[in-house]
Structures are given as C-alpha cells and as structure tokens.
C-alpha cells in the first residue's frame, strides 16, 4: 500500500466495467465518433468548410435543406453544414481538452497545496477559492471574452480561469483528509521528503477524483464554449464552432431550423456523452459508491 503507482490507482478492468454500463457505453461511442470525425475532418468532409458555394444556395438565395447534394444542407452563406460540423468538432475538442486540462491543473495544484500545507497558504488559497465561487461564472467569462480580442486560445484561457474552482474545492477536501491518515504520518516518520509524499502517495490517491472531474469538466467546457460562441464573443467565424454556427444562422432559424438544431443536437450529445462517462467513472472508481445502485 505504501508504493501506489498511477496505474494501480485505476483498478484493472476499469474500461471493461465501464463498457458493461449501457449509458457509459453510449457515451464512449459518441465520444469516439466525435474524436474520429474531428481527426479525420479534412478527409471525411465532402467540401471545404469555408467555401461559399455557388450551388449552395437556392435560386432565391435561401440555404439548402438537408438531403440531396448536401447531406445536412447548407448555411446562410452556402457553406456545407456537415463539413462545418466536422471542423467544428475540432474546435469543441481542442477547447475541451486545452481549457479543461488547464482548469484541472490549476484546480489540482491549488487544492493539493491548500489541503496539504495548512496554515496561511492553505487558508489564503481557500479564501480566494471562496471568492471565486461568488463570481457569476458565465457573466465573468462573457465579460472577459467580450473585452479581449476573442480567439480560440483566449476563449480556452477564459474558460480555464472560471472553471478551476470546483476542482480545487474537491481536491482540497480529499487532500486534507488524506494528509491526516496514518500511512502519510508513517511515511513522514520514515523520513520521506515532502515531494515524495505528495507525488508517490497523495497524488495517486487523488487520481480517480481527478479523472472523474476531468471528464465531467469537459462537458462543462464544451457547453461554455458553445454559449460564448453563440453570443458572438467566443470562437470567431470563419473558424467553425458548433456554437458560432448557431450564432451565424439564428436570425434565419424559423425558416431553416436545421441550421440551429443540428449543431444544437451535436453540442447536447457531446456534453451528454462526457457527463454519462464521468458519472459511470465515479461509480466504478469510488468503492464506497459500489452496490448503491
């Protein structure tokens, strides 16, 4: 027990246990499809996502409905919606991974530091976390994104800045209870250095929590990016994002509802997939939850 490595923190067979749950399996399939679509976008996409095609609009200048030459129809500028969705998946995933990774890193660092080193550092960090909890997160994100010159990386940074707080609180609680456990005290008596205790003993125990919150966090991040892009302060056109596809076409949504609801469904499905997998991971990884449902 005194030399837990990262691999042991994830019980063997985590993946196969996940696959046994229908909801989680559904989530994994959706995630795999979106990842494949995003990676292979340049090859699968039937058209250039930014090309405004001459035959992409009807004679009256309206977007083409789904079916026919364009699988999911075209948008207001005559661009192929399916191609834009595939490229938009890249935006969602890049932001999901970068912004959420950054938020997870900040949250974990703050949580571990505050939980392990009590005293004024810990108290100070947690008061700051309390302060951040009082911020209306979406309002803050909109405000920051609107005032900066928005770009993919700025949006990722803004999302990370508002999203680390929850992780920090959870990691803090777990670390502070770990820090008082006997095996940590024993290590200390044996003369282990602080960094050894933190990296070899505390961190592996936190890994399941980090993985669960990391997965659930991707869902939050995808939703936040979509919302910012929908308001026009997120990822800027012509770079496709599921949120800004809706932003660009919403004025026309009464007569061309597919331009709003197909990307909308994509956002919901991806966020749902990460939520389902995260929730199942929590059940699988947390022994105290086992047998409850």
């Amino acid at each position: 027990m005194n030399d837990l490595s990262a691999a042991d923190a994830l019980p063997r067979g985590t993946l196969s246990r996940l696959m046994q749950r229908k909801a989680a399996l559904f989530g994994l399939v959706i995630i795999a499809m979106v990842v494949a679509g995003a990676l292979l976008a340049p090859w699968i996409a039937p058209y250039d996502p930014n090309e405004q095609m001459f035959d992409g609009l009807t004679l009256e200048g309206a977007p083409m409905p789904p079916g026919g030459q364009f699988l999911l129809g075209t948008d207001l500028l005559g661009r192929d919606l399916f191609s834009r969705l595939l490229h938009g998946a890249r935006t969602s995933l890049v932001i999901g991974i970068v912004a959420n990774g950054l938020a997870l890193l900040i949250g974990t660092l703050v949580g571990i530091t505050a939980g392990f080193f009590r005293g004024w550092i810990g108290a100070g960090l947690m008061r700051f976390t309390d302060l951040m909890m009082a911020f209306p997160a979406l309002l803050l994100a909109i405000c920051l994104a609107a005032i900066f010159e928005p770009s993919l990386w700025i949006v990722a940074m803004v999302i990370a800045l508002v999203n680390w707080v929850q992780t920090a609180r959870v990691i803090y609680t777990e670390t502070s209870s770990l820090a008082t456990r006997d095996f940590i005290a024993a290590e200390r008596t044996l003369g282990a250095s602080t960094s050894r205790i933190l990296f070899r003993h505390v961190l592996p125990h936190l890994l399941p929590t980090i993985i669960v919150w990391g997965t659930l966090g991707i869902s939050t991040t995808v939703l936040l990016e979509a919302t910012l892009s929908f308001l026009g302060v997120g990822v800027q056109p012509p770079t496709a994002s599921w949120g800004n596809i809706i932003f660009e076409n919403q004025t026309y949504f009464q007569s061309a509802p597919w331009l709003v609801f197909i990307p909308g469904a994509a956002i919901i499905l991806l966020a749902l997939a990460f939520n389902l997998v995260g929730d199942a991971l929590r059940d699988v990884l947390d022994p105290t939850q086992r047998g409850r449902d």
Partner: protein, 306 residues
C-alpha cells in the same frame, strides 16, 4: 447563532470587497477603452481627453478604485457612461423582471425535478428509473441557448401557444422560466432520487410498513416530508447558477431584466453597469449560500453551525 451570523456577514462583506476589486482591476487593465465608445469614432483627440478627464479615467488605478468604493459605501454605484442614468436606478428598475423569471424557474425546476426524482426512487433499478436518470443528464447537458431556441421554435413559432419574446403577461414568462429552470431540474431529480432512496431505507419506514400502512400513505406522509427537505434547502445555491443563465435567457427572449442589462453593457464597455450587475449578482450568490447554510441545521439537527 448571532455570533455565527455576524461572522458570516463579515466574511460575505469581505468576499464582495474582493469581487469588486477583481472586477474593477480586470476592467481597468483590459484593452477595451470605454471613452472611445462614448466619444464615437469621429471624435477629436481633445474631445476624447476631455471625456477621459471628466470621468476621472485618467487617474491612477488606486485613486479610481478608492473613489468607486467611497461612493459605493454611500450607496452610489455611479452613472452609466452611455445612458446617463444612475446605475442603482437602472438595476432596481430591471430587478423585478429578473426576480419574477427566477421565481418561475425555481417553480418549474422543482416541479419537474422533484417529480422525476420521486418516481425514479420508487421505481429504482427498473427501466423507468434508468430512462429518468438519463433524461436528467440530458437536461444538464443542454445549453440554455439551444433549449430556448427549441422551445421558441416548437411552442411559439409552430404551435403559437406562447409569444416569441417580450414581457408583461403570464404567457411571456412560461418559456423563459422553463429554459432557465430545466438545467436545475436534472440536478434536483438526482438529489431527490438519492435522498428518497436513503429515507425509504430508514427503520421508521419499515415500521410504517409493518404497521400495515398503504404504500401511498407511507410515501406521501412518512417518506416524502423527510426526503424533500434537504433537497429544497439547495434553492439558495441555485441563485448562483441562475445568475449566469439569465444573461443568455434574457437576451434570447428579450426579457428586460438585469441579465439583458449586463449583456448590453458588456457590448458597449459601460463599466459602471458591468460593475454594478457583477456586484449585485455576487451579493445574491453569497446571500443564497448563506441562506442555504442557515436553513441546514433546522432541517437536519445533527448539523451545527460553526
């Protein structure tokens, strides 16, 4: 109790002070220039400098912040740069609409969430339970702008049951309230389900069953009151989630509340309004959390306020 309340109020004041500092600082260092917005594109450099001086925006950060706090202590939130109205007045005039929207959202999320949770708990492990729990995840995975557009399309455009936006009658309230509340209903469904399952396991429920009470009576009179209280106590926390959501919901539905006010102010870099709305929102969140903590010991006497 009094000492606890006093300490929490002091903490809340400190948190709000921190929020005001961070927001003020961010708005100060960010690259957008409010003076350009006020003066317009064709203004001469002299006009721009004049306006800057009038607003005190040429002073160092510390002076500007101290002035703002000084005025705030006297209840003065400053004047809007563009609308030339007191910010406090603007917010107060918009607040009733937002509170009405939130009340509607709370009603809807409790109605939907608690029902889903109770039914799922009673049918635990069956197909109904699984469908409801997946549904609860769908509601928390749906961004509010997609939900609002979907509701508008189906119920306003196609069916014509509700107006497409605006404010004034009960019919105007329905769709925005559902949009704002639907996210929370998923969380409530999950909390209600696990709370109900815990209660149904308790000894006194077994006693009630042994006495020969009907299932309906056990659920409604014995289990429900105990299971529902800890869930209802979470309403305070909701305020924080709503404060973000109102920006989107109010803009899509044209609801004249503080969310719409904030969104318009952000687009025009109207700093006093952004500051005012952020502070009011933060105050609401802090207050909501405080209320949730204060209610807790009444619901569960094992919880002590420390």
């Amino acid at each position: 109790m009094a000492a606890y309340l006093l300490r929490r109020l002091a903490q809340s004041a400190l948190i709000l002070l921190g929020v005001s500092f961070i927001t003020f600082f961010l708005l100060y260092v960010l690259p957008a220039d409010p003076v350009r917005q006020i003066a317009g594109r064709s203004a001469t450099p002299e006009t721009v400098e004049n306006i800057r001086q009038q607003l005190g925006l040429d002073r160092p950060f510390a002076v500007q912040y101290a002035r703002y706090l000084g005025a705030l202590a006297q209840g003065d939130m400053g004047r809007s740069y563009l609308q030339k109205t007191e910010v406090a007045e603007l917010i107060l005039s918009r607040l009733p609409a937002t509170l009405l929207l939130m009340a509607g959202a709370i009603f809807f999320e409790l109605l939907l969430g608690l029902t889903m949770g109770i039914v799922a708990a009673l049918r635990r492990g069956r197909a109904v339970d699984q469908v409801l729990m997946v549904t609860s995840f769908v509601t928390v995975s749906a961004p509010q702008f997609v939900v609002s557009l979907l509701l508008l399309y189906v119920f306003a455009v196609k069916l014509g049951w509700f107006p497409i936006g605006g404010y004034g009658t009960f019919a105007h309230l329905v769709l925005p309230a559902i949009t704002l509340g639907i996210l929370g209903s998923g969380w409530y469904a999950r909390m209600m389900r696990s709370s109900m399952i815990d209660v149904l396991r308790a000894d006194y429920i077994r006693t009630a069953r042994a006495k020969g009470l009907t299932r309906g009576r056990i659920v409604l009179r014995h289990a429900l009151p105990n299971a529902i209280l800890p869930v209802i106590a979470m309403i305070g926390i909701d305020i924080g989630i709503f404060m973000g959501g109102i920006v989107v919901v109010e803009s899509v539905f044209g609801w004249p509340g503080i969310g719409q006010l904030a969104w318009q102010a952000i687009q025009r870099v109207d700093i006093p309004i952004i500051m005012g709305v952020t502070l009011v929102s933060a105050a609401a969140i802090v207050l909501g959390n405080l209320i949730a903590d204060l209610i807790a010991p009444f619901i569960d006497p094992r919880i002590r306020l420390r």
